[in-house]
Symmetry: D2
Subunit: 305 residues, 4 copies
C-alpha cells in the first residue's frame, strides 16, 4: 500500500496584521480541514507561505499543528530552503516536532543539474530518518524534477512519493507507470482543477490549496473517484472550478503568488475561519473591492449565503 493517500491540503498559515502567526485562526483552519474529512495535513507548503518563516517560526507552526491534530491524520511538513544542509536542518526540526514526513524541493537560487538534484535528496535521506516526499514545483524553483531523476530516487528508496505541482500530468503518468511495481510509492497532484483526471490515471492523492476554503468539496470529489463515479466526480470538480476563479481577482494589482493564497485567505475570512487576510510581506493582500468579488463567487458555489 502507498505510504500516504487521499486529500492532504497544504494548510494556510493565518497572520495577524503585524505579520505574526495568528495561532487561534490556525487552530480553526486545521479543525475546519479535519471537519471536512481530509486524510492528512501538509503544513509549510508554498500555500503556507513557508519561505517567509524562519527556523523558529517553522518549528512553532509544526508543533501547533501536531498538537491540534492530536494524531488524527498524518502530518507532512515542508522543509523548503535553497540548499541541502539547510534543508537537512529543517528536516531534523520537523522530525523532532512530530511531523510524519517531509516535503523537499530541488535546490533553488543555486542552479543545479539533475544528477546534483538527485544527490540533494540522497544526502537528506542519509541525514534524517523520516519519509521524504519529492515536491516538483518548477514555477518556484525553476527546474523540473525529470522523470529519470524521480524514478531513480524512488527506486533507490530515497523518496517515498512525489507531490507534482508542475502541471505536467503526462510526466506524472509516466512516473506512476514506471513505479507501478512498487506498491508503496505514491504520486499526488497539486492541481485544484484536474483532480478527477489525475486520480483517474492512478494518482494516490491530491494536495489542493483550495481545500482550505472547501475541504468538503475535495473530500467528496475523492470519495466519488474512489467509488468509480466519474460523472458525479466531474460535476463536483466543475463546481470547484468555479470556486477556483477567486485566484485571479487581484492579479495585475498583485503578483500571482499574492493573488492565489491571498484569495484563499480572503475567502476563509469571509467564511469565519480566520480573522485576517494578511499576506506575509512584501506580498499585497486583497483589498475590500477584491474581497467583495470573492464573496460573490463564494455565494455562487453555495459556500456563503
Amino acid at each position: 500500500m502507498p505510504l500516504f493517500t487521499g486529500v492532504v491540503p497544504p494548510v494556510v498559515t493565518p497572520l495577524n496584521a503585524n505579520f505574526s502567526v495568528d495561532f487561534a485562526s490556525f487552530t480553526r483552519t486545521i479543525e475546519n480541514l479535519l471537519d471536512g474529512g481530509v486524510h492528512g495535513l501538509f503544513v509549510l507548503g508554498s500555500t503556507s507561505e513557508v519561505v517567509f518563516h524562519d527556523e523558529a517560526g517553522r518549528r512553532a507552526i509544526i508543533e501547533h499543528a501536531v498538537k491540534v491534530n492530536n494524531g488524527r491524520v498524518p502530518i507532512f511538513a515542508g522543509v523548503i530552503d535553497p540548499t541541502t544542509d539547510r534543508v537537512i536542518n529543517h528536516a531534523l526540526t520537523a522530525r523532532s516536532a512530530g511531523a510524519d514526513a517531509v516535503v523537499v524541493t530541488a535546490p533553488f537560487y543555486a542552479r543545479t543539474s539533475q544528477p546534483e538534484i538527485g544527490d540533494h535528496f540522497r544526502y537528506i535521506k542519509d541525514a534524517v530518518d523520516i519519509p521524504i516526499i519529492a515536491y516538483d514545483i518548477p514555477v518556484c524553483v525553476h527546474v523540473k524534477l525529470e522523470r529519470q531523476t524521480t524514478v531513480g530516487l524512488a527506486s533507490e528508496g530515497a523518496i517515498a512519493g512525489i507531490k507534482d505541482s508542475s502541471g505536467d500530468d503526462g510526466n506524472l503518468r509516466y512516473v506512476l507507470k514506471d513505479m507501478a511495481n512498487d506498491p508503496s510509492f505514491f504520486g499526488m497532484t497539486g492541481s485544484e482543477i484536474l483532480v478527477d483526471s489525475v486520480l483517474a490515471m492512478g494518482a494516490h492523492g491530491v494536495v489542493p490549496g483550495l481545500a482550505n476554503v472547501d475541504p468538503h468539496g475535495y473530500v467528496r470529489l475523492w470519495n466519488l473517484m474512489q467509488a468509480g463515479q466519474h460523472a458525479e466526480a466531474r460535476l463536483e470538480q466543475e463546481r470547484l472550478l468555479k470556486l477556483f476563479e477567486i485566484v485571479w481577482i487581484s492579479l495585475g494589482r498583485t503578483s500571482a503568488g499574492s493573488a492565489g493564497v491571498g484569495a484563499f485567505k480572503t475567502a476563509m475570512r469571509s467564511l469565519g475561519i480566520i480573522a485576517s487576510n494578511t499576506m506575509a510581506r512584501p506580498q499585497r493582500s486583497l483589498n475590500d473591492e477584491e474581497a467583495a468579488k470573492v464573496d460573490i463567487i463564494l455565494r455562487d458555489v453555495g459556500l456563503l449565503r
Copy 2:
C-alpha cells in the same frame, strides 16, 4: 561622489573536504585580493555560495573577513534569502558583524510583482541602518529588477546603488542615465567579460568572480579605463576573456553553477591560494581531468608556469 567605486570582487568561500569553511584558505583568498589592489570585498555573494550557508555560518564568514581586512577596504555582505523578514535578519547580522553595506536581491521562490519587490527593499531600508545595494540577478531569482523599480528606489534613497548581473547592459545604461543627477548613486556590473564596455558607458565599479583568480588583471583593467586608455584596456580584457574560458570546462557533467565557481576554486587551488576545490553539496567539484584543462588555460594567460 558615489558611495563605492572600483573593483569589488565577490569573495570565494573555500571549503574543506567535509564542507566546512576552510578559514585559513579564506584568509589567503582575501589577502590575495587585497594584494591585487581591489577596492572592496563582497562576501556572501552568489560566487561565495551564500545560499549554502546558514545564519551562524554567514556571521562567521563576515566576521572573519572583517578581521582579516582590518579596515583596508569597504566590505559588502550579501544578505540573500527568499523573503523580506529573513533578509532583514541577515542584514542586522551583517551590520553587527562589521559590514559596510548589504547586497539585496528581489525575493525568490515566492513570486512577487515589481511593486511588491519595491516594498521588499523599502521594508529592509526601514529596518536596518546600513547602505543597501540592489542585486539584479534574474538567472538566480527569476525576476528582473525593472528600470522603473530600480530608479524609483534609488530616487527615494532606499538603495545606494545597483550591482547588475542581469546581462542587460542596455537597461543598466538607462538606469545610469536616469540617475545621472544624483552623484552618490553608483552602478556596478557583475560581468567578467564586458568590464571595459560597461565602465566606458559610465558604470562606477565591477564585481567579477574571476578576480579571485586574477585580481591584478581586473585592477589593471580598471586603472586603464580610469586613465582613458581604451585600447590597452581592451587588450587586458581580452586576456581575461581567455582566462574566463575555464568556466565551461565541466559544463554538462556539472551544472552551470558548479562549473563556474568550481573552476574559480580549481584555479585558485592550482595557484596555491586555497587548499581544496570542494563545492558546497550537492554541487559537484571539478575532477582531475577538468583541473588539468584549467591549468592549461592558467599557463596560457601567464598565471601559472
Copy 3:
C-alpha cells in the same frame, strides 16, 4: 452538435530521399488511418512538417488527401505561416483544394499581443468562408492563446473550435466550461498520452500524431470513452504510453522535433506504411540503431511481430 468530433490525426507527410513528397506512401498513410476508423484527417499540421512546404507543395498535399479520402471523413488543413495575409492566402488555397476547415495558429516570428492575435483570427474569418479551428501551440509559436482570447473569438463565431497542444489542460477545461452553452463549439487535444483524461473532462476530439502508427488504438480509446468504460480506456491509453516512448529515442542526437515525427515515420516504415523515414531538411532522420530501438517498442506493444 459540435461541428467536428472524434479522432482526427495530423497526417504524416512521407518524403522521398530527395525530400520530395512520396505520394504513394502518402496514399497508404491515409488509407491506413481510414482503415483504423478515424473520424477526420488533419493534413498540414506540425506533425505533417507543414512549415517545410511552400504554397504549391501545400496545395498538392491537400488535393491528394481530398482525392484519396473521397469524402469519407472531413479534412482539416493547417494554414500555418507567420502572419495574417499569408495565412489568408493559404486558407483560400485550402478552401479551393477541398478542405472542410482550416487550422490557424497565432502569428509567429512577429511578436503580437493578445488583442492583435484576436484580430488575426478576425481578419482571416472575414476573408475566407470556411470554419476556422484555433491551434494553441506555444512550443512552436511561443505565445499562448489565452482563455479570454479563445473564448472571445468563439463567442463571436470567429472560430468554430480549438485544437489545444499547449499541455495546459486546466486552461482547456475552463474554455470548455465557458463555452458550454454553445453546443456547436468543440475542443480537441493534441496530446497522445492524456486522451482519456481530456475526453473525460468534456473535450470533443483528439488529434494524436501517434495515430499515424496505431490508428486502431486511438479509435478504440475513443470508443471506450464514448461508452463510459473508463477503466478499459485507461488500459488502452497505457498501452499507447508505451508506444509513445519511441519519441525520445533519438533525442540529443537530433532535435525534439526530429525525434518525435522522425520516430513516427520510422515506425510507419517498419510497419510497411511508408517507404522512407526521411525528415524534411535540415532535420535529421533516425538512423539504423535508433530504428532498431523503435522496432523493439513496436513488438512490445503488439504492432510488429
Copy 4:
C-alpha cells in the same frame, strides 16, 4: 578586410492605409538614409516587417531598393522564413533582384538542434551563390546561434559574417575573438543603445532600426568611434538613448513588436519621410495621443522643431 562594414540600417517598409507598400514613401526612406551617410541598406529585416510580405511582395521591395540605391551602397536582403528550402527560394529571388548579400536566421516554428541549424546554413550556401550573413535573433526564432555553431560556419566559409540581435554581447565578443585570424569575417550588432560599446570591442558594423529616424546620428557615432573619440561617441550615443525611448510609448496597448517599429514609423511620419504610420496587420499602429508623445521626444533630441 571584412566584406561589409559601417552603419547598415534595416530599412522600414512604409505602408499605405490599405496595407500595400507605399513605394513613394519607401523611396524617401532610402534617400533619407543615404543622405545620412549610411554604408549599406538592409531591406526585409525584422524592422522591415519581412514576415508580413510574401515572395512577390519581397521581390518588389528588393527591386525597388536596388533601383533607388542605384549602386551607391551594398544591399543586404533578409530571406526570413521558417525552413531551409523556403529560405533558398527567397535567396534565389534576392540574388536575381540584385541584392549583394542575404541575411538568414535559424529555422523557426520547427524546433531544430544546433547541428541541424548548422546544416540549414550549409544547404543554403550550397544552393545559392551569394554571401550569407547569419542573423542571431532569439527573441523572434526562440533559439540562440551558439558560439560553436557560428564559429564553425564562419570557419568553413558558409557564412560571411553575423548580425547579432541577441543582446548577448559577451557571446559576440567571443565569436569576434575566435574569428580574429580571418580578416574577411565581420560582426555587426542590432543594438541601438550599445553601439559605442560593441564597436569598441571590435565589431565591424551596426544595424540600428532607429537609424530610419536619425541616420546622421548613427553615422556620427560610427565616425567618432572610427576616430577613437570615445568620449564624444558616448555623448552621441546618449542622445540616441533619449530618442530610443519612443519604442516604449505604446507598450501595453500594443505588442512590443508594434510598439518599436510603430514608433519608428510614427517618428518618420512626423519628420515628413513617410506618409502613414500604418503597421502590417494584425499589428496595431500608434494612435494620435502616442504620436504626440513621440513628437515631444523628437523635439527634445533636436530632430523636430
